[in-house]
């Protein structure tokens, strides 16, 4: 593995809804706010936007838009430069949704291992917020 190798987080889910409907939830600002974060998102290539949450802000830029099929944007927060790509594939029962966040560097992970303690308070707070939402 070279130093340039990056890794991804991938989540796949079957949604019993048509791709057009899932697409709206992924791209319309007021709907994004309901499940993701406050934002000024627009599904337009080159559009720069922010996601804002209690734990900080994410700077984004729309990289690719294929309505009802694929959406990709840059996701930069706290020094992590990554790309989030959503892929929608129609199925007989709805939509196969795939989220890939790419750009995690192996050296960041290694460096982290000795120093996790400093962040437990911070992300512990986030977990409390998430638990309250549930």
């Amino acid at each position: 593995m070279s130093a340039e190798t990056t890794r991804s987080v991938v989540i796949e889910r079957e949604m019993p809804h048509p791709p057009e409907k899932v697409w709206r939830a992924l791209t319309q600002s007021f709907l994004l706010e309901e499940w993701l974060m406050k934002n000024d998102f627009q599904p337009v290539v080159g559009h720069r936007f922010n996601f804002r949450a209690d734990w900080g802000a994410v700077d984004g830029e729309v990289l690719a838009v294929e309505p009802n099929k694929m959406l990709s944007y840059g996701w930069a927060a706290f020094g992590l430069e990554s790309v989030v790509t959503w892929t929608l594939t129609p199925t007989s029962t709805g939509t196969h949704l795939r989220m890939e966040q790419s750009g995690f560097r192996a050296d960041q992970e290694q460096a982290f291992k000795g120093a996790k303690y400093g962040w437990q308070g911070y992300f512990g707070g986030l977990e409390k917020v998430l638990a309250r939402i549930e």
Binding site: I11, M15, W35, L36, G56, Q108, K116, G121
Partner: protein
């Protein structure tokens, strides 16, 4: 435990959000005294989360977000984060009209 303290975390978040800020400006909206703000900033500086720059008689503080990257297991964090968010997306889709 630089970010475990809520006042310190709020100061760091504000500096991250607004760019470069002085102790005076940070004190004005923090609800704590200037010596207390200075003490928190010293901890943030020692742990590499902010950088100080002297300009005239004032010190300006700026976040060093890259100083954070090595501290966080981002893959682990985002795996949980997206699972949770996609659960919420599913709930939203149930509530939405076709």
């Amino acid at each position: 435990m630089a970010l475990a303290d809520p006042t310190r975390r709020a100061l760091f978040e504000r500096i991250s959000r607004e760019g470069e800020l002085t102790v005076r400006v940070l004190t004005s909206q923090s609800g704590v005294s200037q010596p207390a703000v200075s003490k928190h900033l010293r901890v943030l500086k020692e742990t590499g989360l902010v950088r100080a720059r002297h300009k005239g008689r004032e010190t300006h503080y700026r976040a060093r977000p890259r100083g954070l990257a090595p501290l966080v297991d981002w893959m682990n964090f985002y795996s949980r984060y997206w699972q949770d968010r996609i659960d919420r997306l599913e709930d939203l889709l149930k509530r939405m009209e076709q």
